[in-house]
Structures are given as C-alpha cells and as structure tokens.
Symmetry: C2
Subunit: 720 residues, 2 copies
C-alpha cells in the first residue's frame, strides 16, 4: 500500500515548526526580572539584532552575485531553465538558512533574561527556561531543513536541483559562523585582555566597555552562527542521501525512480522530530538532579532510544518483506537498520569522547595544544569504523535485493548514507543542548552586570559551566557528522558526474529512453579509474584541498587578532577618557564597542569566506572534475583533525584558565594566570571561530562541487 512519503515528512516538519512556536510562547510567559536586568538585556538584544541585520545585508549581496554566476554557468553549459531552477533553489537555501539563524537568535535572546529571573525560584526553573529556549532552536532548525527539502523535492522531483539549496545553506552558514565567530572572539579576547589582565575586573563586570559586546557575541556567534551552521549540516546531509537514493533507484529499477529510496533520508529525519519531542519532554520534566547536565543528557539518551525504535519500524515498513519498496526481505531490512545503528552509536561515542577530552585540565598552551592534537585519534577511528560497518552491511543489503545483485558498491554507499542518517536522527536534541549553552552564558552575564542578588548568581554559576560543556559536545558531534556527510556528498558528486556524463539532465527522459539507466551504470563503473590516487590531477587536487582548511583557519584567526586589537584599543581609550568609569560611577559606551566588533567582523569575514568558493571553481575549471573531487576529499581529510585540535584544544585551554581562576596554582594575579589568559587568546578563536567553521567549509566545498559539475566536465588541462 503505497503513499507519498512527502506527506509524512512535510506534516512532521510543520508540526516541528508549530511546536517551536509553542516553546517560544511558553518561554514568554516567564517574567523578565527587574528594571536593571531588562536594561542590560535590551542592550544585548538590540546589539545582536543590529549586527544580524547588517550581516544579512552583506550575505544577501554576496548571494545575489553568486546566483547570477550559477545562472550564467548553467546557461552556457546546459540551459537557462535548469540554471534558473538551481539559482532559485540556491537563493531559497540562503533565505532558509538566515531565517533559521534569526529564529535561533530570537529564541535565545527571548530566553536569556527570563532564565536569569527564573533563577530566583530555583536552578531547575532557570535551566527549564533555557532548555525550552534551546529546544525551540533545535526544532526550528531541523524542521525548516526538512520543510525546505520536502517542498523543493515536491516541486522539482530532482535531488540534483536541491544541490543549489544545499549550496545556499552552506554559503550563508559559513558567513554567519565566520562573522559571528569573529565578532564574539574579538569582543571576548579584547574584554579579557584589558579587563582581566590589566584592570583585574571579574568576568562580565559592568565597568568593562566590552562587556555587552561580549554577550552580544555569544548570541550572534553561538546562536545565530550555530543555527545556520546546523541548518546547513542537516540540509547537506539529506541532500547527499537523496541523490544517492535516486541513482541507486534508477540503476536497480532500470530507470524507474522509487520514491522510498530517494526520500528515506527525509523519512528518518522526520522520525527524528518525534524523537526530539520526547527527548525534550524528558529534559524539561526532570526536576531533581545533582549535575545540571543530567536532564539534557537523559533527554539525549531517551531520544536516541526512540529514534532507534522508530528507525526500525520505518526500515521494516519500507524495505522489509512485503514492504513498500519492491523485492524487500527481512535480512535486507536488518542490514540497512544495522547501518543506521552504527551511525547512531558513533555519534553518541563522539559526544562521550568530547566530554572526556575537554574535561582535562591542560595546564599550559603547550599541553592544551597537545591534548587537542591527540584527541583527534578516537573520533577519526570511530568514524572509520562506522564507515567500515555500514559499507559492509550495505553490500549485504545489495546482495539480498535481487535487483541490486552485483551492485555491491552502490549498496555499500547506500549503507553509509543510512549510517549518516542514523547519526543525525538525534540532531534535534543535540541542537537543544547547543542552544542552551549561550542562553545560560548570557543569563549569567545579565545576572553579573545587573548586580542581581547573590542567590541568583550562585544558582546560575553551575549552569554557566554546563553551557560550556554542551557547546563543546555539540561541536564534536557536528564535526563527526560532517565527516560522514562530506564523504556522502562526495559519493553523491561522483554519481552526479555519471548522471551528467550519461546526459540525464531531465529525469523524465528516463521514462522515454529505456537505455539511459544502462548508460548511467556504464558511466559510473568507468569513473573509478579517473579518481585513482596515483593520478596527477587527483594528487594535485588533494594537496590543494588539504591545505585549504589551514589557510582558511589562518585568515579567520587573523581576523580575530585584528578585531581583538581594535577592541583592546577601544576599551583602553574609554577607561582613559571617561572619568569615573573605573570606579563604577560612570557608564561605559557599550554601543561603540558593539559597533567596532560589528564592523570588524563584517569586513574581515569576506576573505576567509571567499577562499572556499573560489578555490574549487578555479581548480575545477583548470583541472576538471577529478581534481575538484580530490580537493573536497583532501580538505575533509585535513579539516577533521584540524577542527578537533582547535575545538578541543581550545576548550582545554579555556578550562585551564577557569581552573586557575577558581584559585588553583595560586589563582588570579599570578604568572600562571597570565599564562593561561595568553593561552586562551589562541584557544578562543580556535574553539569558537576557526574550529566550528571548518566543517561548514568542508560542506560548502562539497555543495559547490555538486552544483558546478557542468563547468568542471570540460577542463583546460587534461591528463591521460
């Protein structure tokens, strides 16, 4: 009994959006606290909104230019209609991504002050408000991604066109994360270097002119940036899975497109929305806990269990004996389900490693750096094992479905697709944990700056530490899923190359030309030799790809260094020129500090943001699609350990600073403290600017390679 799976996915996406609105409204019922809190909150909210507005304008200009490039590139190589579809899809991707960023920011600035006020009652109430705020972020991001893909697929019925949507999402996310990351870290480092080291102010001291900018930064970097970031992650991953499902289906069913193969990634994602509902309920309802991480962690575990059960049912219903897809079998369903579980387990393992490594107290920059580098080992091995298992099970799946017999490779690739979907089935609840972080961080900042009663500050302090942990956890998870997703998108890229080479631009041509499916299969089997690691174009592409994450990170870190320097100058100037500021009798000019960070971030995000757009296009035009493919894989290979080094090494350095500030090794105002503050100046841009941008970089390269295939098929230099 067949039904259109898009009905399921679209309605669950809508349900997710509605639930998110409901969460925002339920947060709004909470009081905002006293006048002083509201004053500070208003400054933070206005600063954040003002930044976001200017950032959106910059991104919009870049997006419009790129959409014209797409139109021209496709007009010259394929035709303008197809180019127009992809350009439209691209612009929608940018718009959806920025909308997700906006909602994330709105929800966060909605919840932060209310979390502070709720701490008057209890730590539980403060955490509950923050969790609801984070939950709204999580739900809106996964639902919007699902909605966008479902609607576009319903309109065009071609995942190839959806590549534009993925490209748009990645591009917007890269700029949002970069701009936000540069903003937040120039403010943070600037505030710390003058405030903590020179003036001996505590964190979030209202006398520090950069204090508001620092809190604005948490919002625009961690909330809006991460919202766009995870929106693009989910979108890119689904997109890759759909393309693979399409080609597998064309080859198995000899030109007939089976909707279940294509939309299985969307189905799994929509089940994730249900799992998120349950996980959120668990996290919000758990009232008694010693460690404030327990409720959300329990929520994650329950959501994982629910997702595991729902995925089993869905797999059985689609691929089992008598299922919706023809020629299913019980063993085939078990094999695919095994793939999903391997991905789910790998995701949970990476979350556990992150907690382990970032918890360690690196005493020096040197050991923080060492911890960061060493910690890349386990996640990479875990991803490798998940790939191994899911590819092997996917081969078994191919073996068990008569039509797929012999197509072991395609089966394996479909298996890794299912592993990626399994890992991402818990994305909603992980996003909640991520969104919760900056809310409690801000709640603490508002409490401190408004001079809230001691009891409120005491209750919020453990939540602040929780926020740092959850932020680190979700970054690790994002990188792990990006590794799988990038390899998936690379497979999708190879399949799309075969499709273009077979001349299947319009999928409806398959019905009228029964030989096309066979042509596609032939093209596909011939592509392997062109991707051999000993070919010069592949080697050159991979070398350049491997270098890109370093140059990108270097320019991003440099932007923070420039921004922090300007902030230091400004804070010093205000302390010098505003009489009574140091004594607390005069108010600093917060807005000017916010404005400086804004201008720095928007100007300096352009260079690192443009590099990953231009590099693959130049390489592809000269050396062809093989070099671009190798570039993407090379970038993935070096970006994963580099990102982990920066994210976890940076977190370890940050923790070292906090540890000393708590009174260990002599506490504040010692040389050890100064050394950890210096360490944190490199740790901060590592963990909050360059590190979390790297996986967007990788997927941006992936989606660009997918979109511009027609351009790469005729290269200037061709090797034999």
């Amino acid at each position: 009994m067949a039904f259109d799976p898009l009905i399921l996915t679209t309605s669950l996406a809508v349900a997710g959006v509605v639930a998110a609105i409901f969460l925002v409204l339920s947060v709004q019922k909470y009081p905002k606290g006293n006048e002083k809190m509201i004053g500070i909150w208003t400054a933070i909210r206005e600063g954040s909104n003002a930044y976001l507005k200017r950032q959106f304008r910059t991104i919009a200009i870049i997006a419009i230019i790129i959409s014209l490039v797409i139109l021209v590139a496709f007009g010259a190589t394929i035709n303008f209609t197809y180019g127009g579809e992809i350009a439209l899809s691209f612009l929608l991707g940018v718009a959806f991504s920025l909308f997700a960023a906006y909602v994330a920011l709105y929800s966060a600035t909605n919840a932060n002050v209310r979390s502070t006020a709720a701490a008057e009652k209890s730590t539980y109430e403060a955490l509950k408000v923050a969790t609801l705020g984070g939950g709204a972020l999580g739900l809106v991001v996964i639902s919007m991604s699902l909605l966008g893909l479902s609607l576009l697929y319903a309109a065009f019925r071609d995942p190839g066109v959806l590549a534009g949507f993925g490209f748009g999402a990645s591009l917007a996310a890269l700029f949002a994360q970069l701009g936000g990351g540069i903003f937040t870290k120039s403010a943070d480092v600037g505030a710390d270097l003058v405030g903590k080291v020179e003036e001996n102010f505590p964190e979030d001291d209202p006398r520090n002119p950069a204090a508001i900018a620092d809190n604005v930064g948490d919002n625009v970097g961690d909330e809006a940036g991460r919202g766009a970031d995870l929106f693009e992650s989910l979108t890119a991953e689904n997109l890759g899975g759909m393309i693979i499902g399409l080609i597998v289906s064309i080859i198995i069913f000899n030109g007939v497109i089976n909707p279940y193969y294509v939309t299985m990634p969307l189905i799994v994602r929509s089940l994730g929305i249900i799992a998120t509902f349950v996980g959120l309920a668990v996290a919000v309802l758990e009232k008694k806990f010693k460690n404030p991480i327990k409720p959300t962690r329990d929520g994650l575990l329950v959501a994982s269990a629910i997702a595991a059960i729902l995925m089993f049912i869905a797999t059985w219903y689609v691929f089992g004996p008598g299922g919706l897809s023809p020629s299913g079998s019980d063993l085939a369903a078990y094999a695919l389900y095994g793939c999903m579980v391997s991905g789910l387990a790998a995701g949970l393992l990476i979350v556990i490693y992150t907690e382990f490594y970032t918890g360690s107290n690196a005493k020096t920059v040197m050991s923080g750096n060492a911890v960061g580098m060493i910690s890349s080992g386990l996640p990479v091995i875990t991803v490798a094992i998940a790939l191994l298992i899911s590819f092997g099970l996917g081969e078994q799946f191919a073996n068990l479905i008569p039509a797929l017999k012999g197509e072991m490779f395609l089966g394996g690739v479909y298996g890794t697709t299912m592993a990626t979907m399994g890992m991402l089935s818990t994305a909603g609840i992980v996003l909640t944990m991520d969104g919760l972080g900056p809310i409690v961080d801000n709640a603490g900042g508002i409490a401190e700056m408004s001079g809230a009663p001691e009891i409120i500050r005491e209750r919020i302090e453990p939540l602040d530490a929780l926020g740092n942990t959850t932020k680190a956890l979700t970054k690790g998870y994002a990188m792990g899923s990006a590794a799988l997703a990038s390899l998936l998108l690379f497979q999708a890229f190879v399949l799309e190359v075969a499709r273009y080479k077979a001349g299947i631009i319009d999928l409806t041509s398959l019905a009228s030309n029964p030989g096309l499916a066979a042509t596609l299969a032939t093209q596909l089997s011939g592509l392997g030799t062109f991707l051999a690691l000993n070919r010069p174009d592949v080697v050159i592409g991979a070398l350049i790809g491997g270098m890109l994450p370093f140059v990108f990170s270097g320019t991003a870190i440099n932007a923070v260094a420039v921004g922090a320097y300007r902030m230091v100058e400004e804070v010093r100037r205000q302390l010098r020129e505003i009489p009574g500021l140091r004594e607390g009798t005069a108010k600093p000019d917060y807005a000017r500090a916010v404005d400086i960070s804004t201008r720095t971030a928007l100007r300096l995000m352009v260079v690192p943001g443009i590099i990953p757009v231009v590099a693959p296009i130049v390489v592809g035009v000269f050396l062809g699609w093989t070099a671009v493919g190798a570039l993407v894989v090379g970038a993935t290979i070096s970006a994963i350990p580099l990102a982990i080094m920066m994210m976890w090494g940076g977190a370890a350095m940050d923790n070292a600073k906090k540890y000393v500030e708590m009174g260990h090794f002599g506490g504040k105002n010692t040389e050890t403290h100064a050394a950890t503050v210096v360490g944190d100046t490199v740790g901060d841009p590592w963990k909050d600017t360059a590190g979390p941008s790297l996986h967007i970089l990788v997927k941006l390269l992936n989606t660009i390679s997918l979109v511009f295939i027609p351009l790469f098929l005729s290269a200037i230099i061709i090797f034999h």
Copy 2:
C-alpha cells in the same frame, strides 16, 4: 659507448666523504680559545656524546626487533632469502643513518668553540669556521646516502631490496629527530621559563643550571637529528626514483633493465656533490658582506647554476640523440631536463617564501599561529605547479620515445621523479646552511658562558640570527622536497604492488620469461580502479592517514611539555638548594640537568615513534594495500600544511620574543614580554620537535608501505 654509471656515482660519493674529512681537518687547525671556553665546550661535547650513545642503544634495540619482524613477514609470504636481504638492507640503513648523525654531531662540536675563538680575528673568520663545519655535515650526509645506495644496488641490482635501506634510514631518523627534538626543547623551554621569566637571567647565563643542556640540545636536536633526517630524505627520494626507473625501463624495453633509467637519480645526486664543492668554495671565499647570510646564499645560487648546467649535460648524454639510452631524441632530453629545472626552481622558491614568512614579526600567539597557517598556501601551490609541469613534460617525454608511446602515465611519473631529483640537486649546500646554524648558536653560547670579551660577543651576535634563519630555510626546503618525495614513493609503491602481483620477485626471471613484462604492464593498468577515491578502503585509509600527523605531533609536543616541566623543577631546586648560585659564586650542577633531558627524551620518544610504524601495518593487514597507500597519501596531505604551520608559525613566535627582547613594545620584564615567552613555549616544540619530524613521519610511512607489500596483498577485510 656504455659504461657503468655506478662507477661515477661511487667514486663521487667517495670523493665527497674524503672532502668532508678534509674540511673537518681544516677546522681542527683553528685554535680552541682560552681555558674557560674549552671547559664549557668540553661539557657540551661530553653531554652530546653521552646522549647520542644512549640514544643509539635505544634505536639499535628497536631496529633489531623490526629486522626480525621483516624476516618473519617475508619468510611467511615470499621466502627467507629475500627477507634476509631486505632485513640486512634495513639494518644497513639504520647504521648509515646513525653514522651520518654521529659525523654531523662530531663536525659541529668540532667547529663551535673554534668559531668562538676565531671571532677574535673577525666575523668573517668565525663564519668561515662555521661554514666549513656545516659543509662537512652536508657533504658527509649526501655522500653517505649515495654510497650506500650505489653499493647496495651493485650488490643486489634490485631497487626493491633497497627499500629496506630506506626504511632503516627513516626509522633511525625519526627517532633521532624526535629524541633530539624532545631533548633540546625540554631543556630550552625549561631554561627560559625559570631563567628568563622568573630569575631574569639573560640567554645562556652560566648561572642557569639548564644552560649546558640547552646547548647540548642544539647539537643533538639540530645537528645529529637533522643529519639523520636529511640522510633519510635523500635516501628515500633516490630509492623511489630508482624503483620508478626500474619499472619504466622494464615496460619500455620489454623486460630488459636499462641501467641509466634506474640510476639516473644517483647520477643527478652525484652531480650535486660537484655543485656542492663549488658552492662551498664560493661561500667560504666571500670575505666582504654586510649581511652574514650573503656568502651562503651566494653559494646556494652558484651551486644551483652549476647543478642546472651539469644536469643538462647528463640528460643530453643519456637521453639525447645518440645518447647512452636507446631511442633518445633531443626533444625527449629537453622534456626531462625541463622537469629537473621545475623541481630546482620550486625548491628555491620555497626557500624564498620561508625567509619571507619567518621574517614577519607576529606580535601574539594568535597572530603567530595565523601566520603559520596562512603560510602553508604558497609552498603547497608551488609543489602542485611543479608536479603539474613535470608530469606534463614527462608525458611529452613518453610521447617522444617510440618504445614509451602510449605509456603516458609512466612517462609523467618519470617526469615527476626528475623534478624531485632537480629539487634535491642542491641538497648539499642547503645542508651546509642547516649545519651552520647550531654551530654559530653554540659559538654564541660558549662566548656568553665563558665571559668572552665584548668584541667576540658582538661579532658572533649577527651570526646567531643568521643561524636561526638558515635553520628555518632548510626546514622549509626539507618539507617541500618531502612532499614531492612522498608522492614519488607512493608511485613507487603502486609500481611495486604491480610487480609483486605480476610475480616478479627475482628480477633475473625477466630474462627467462619474456611474457613477464607484459604481465606487469597489465597488472599496472588494472590497479587504478582499486585506488579510486570513492572506495571505502581508500577513504578509511586516507582518513586515518590524515589524522596520524596530528596524533603524532600531539604526543611529541606532550613529551616536550613533560620534559620542560621536569627541567623547570630541577632548575628551581638547584637555585633553591645551591647557595651562592644566583649570585654567581657557586657553579650549578649542569650534568644533572643534561641527564634529566636525556632520560626524558629517550623514554618519551618511544610512543610517538612507534605510532607510525604500527599504524600502517595494522591498517594494511586488515584492509589491504589500497588502504595503506591511501593512508600514506592522506598523511602527506595533512602533514605538509601542519608542518609548515608549526615550523613557520613557531619561528614567527620565536622572532616575536626576540624582537621584544631587543627593546620593542617596552622590552623585557613587561607583560608583553611574558606573553611572547608563553607564545614561544608552544612555538618551540612546534618548530623544533613536531614540525621537522613530520616529513620523516611521512617518508617512514612511505618506506614501511614499500617494504611490507607482501603482507598487505592478502587482507582480512576485502571490499568489492
């Protein structure tokens, strides 16, 4: 008119060794200076020798275990005779490498004090002694490598057996560079942290208990370590070139091995010895200079020109019309010569970039890190362009030699071989520059600690700065050549896999079985599909390979952190317990500090050293040769930018510290100075421990993959 090229290469190798002995003797004619200088020099020399002896013992034990593993692995898969040959070749590689390290150390400790004493006459005399000492190192390293390969090839006539020699050289070099690097940086950082920051001693103050250990470290890390390091670089690169020459020759001449194709790399290397003679003469004879880098830089330029001329003559003589190799043509000779020039030019360009990037004054850890990351761009692009040009010209070479027609790929690979040889033709003079660095560094230390007259110290100071520059230049050059060499060795690996698969273990079987050459060609053309980037084993191998340089660097940096911590404790203890030490009336216990560094280095070098030995073997046994090949390429891709980030970023941080110490930004005893000292604690192990070990790591992975091919041909898990 044919003659055996091994006669040329062996005799030039012997000439190089004789010239090196002559240089050592000519240095020994110089006086050693006053009693006090000799006293300090004796302490440095004895500490260095004692360390080296203990290090050699540790490496010998590890080498003997590995040689047994080789014997057993080959006995089980091929036969014990072949295994015995490779094990013998391996042990010789270890022995030659350690001998090169010993001579390098001997020459350096021979020259350092005499350079100090010669400064009494003039800066020129001091530089001359150092240049002669560095020249001895350079000559002995290139000559010993050439000698070992020439003799082994004369004995076995099979480059495959020589892979053992390369593996031995890489293994010994990795441990020598790691152990030396950990020693020198724990001593250096420990000496700085207490001496400079806490006690406000100047550099090389005789009251600092770690002062001798710091100078010993320069010798064992920079001289012995780098000597073994470059020995293995040259050896591995020649080895790869010879294997490629062998297979190209077998396929072109249908089973007949043309000795010129195989030994062309050795011929180019021996021409490099002549170029080094001339370059050294220029460097030593130039008496008038403003900047002390000028004489050696002129030496490098002249040596490059001489090498370019000699390579043209040799190429013409071998591959030109009527040349020694059959079916040569003038255009074919031009094409190959173009490859060599592209490599030579790329090497010089990388030297220029290094000077540019390390010269920049990064003011903070953050910007030092950013500079390091960004600076990986140009070298990678340069290497990529050299590959592109030489592969393209190599294809033309294949096109022009009738027998090679159609074998465009092999021609391209042979072209990149020639590019690598071209880049390395100037290795002798670059090694001289490298050897010169620690000699003048030590000369400065001896002058400072012995309280030499002001005029001596003034004359040596600019040489000290020169030493830092030349050390950085040669590290950049080493990494550039390693990138080319690693890709060369990977091609050699693929060719050797084809050879094993074709069953050509004994090369003499080619004569009796005329069909074998065709079988080899067939095997070779079939291998590409197994190396496709979209295969799971390739992806998994590449992911793990890309992560290895990070985990390796992390463990190495961690070892320095542990060692530095111990040194800090010891220096503090001596300052506390030895009365009169701070005032200069009592002498510190230098020997104990040396002993602590020695023990730390030898114990902590084992873990990072074992990782790259075990990882490829485990991956290969499970996932087969394709995964090992991908692992090696993955490691190369991420190691190049990571090494450049660490070497150049580290140098930028070091320069920042020196810049502040010269009085800028408030000078010493300011917070800025303290921050740069903290920055240097991470910069130091970056640039002197982990960074320069990475290219050895890459080539160790290369040579292991080459040696253990028989083990990898039957994997546990096989993908379709």
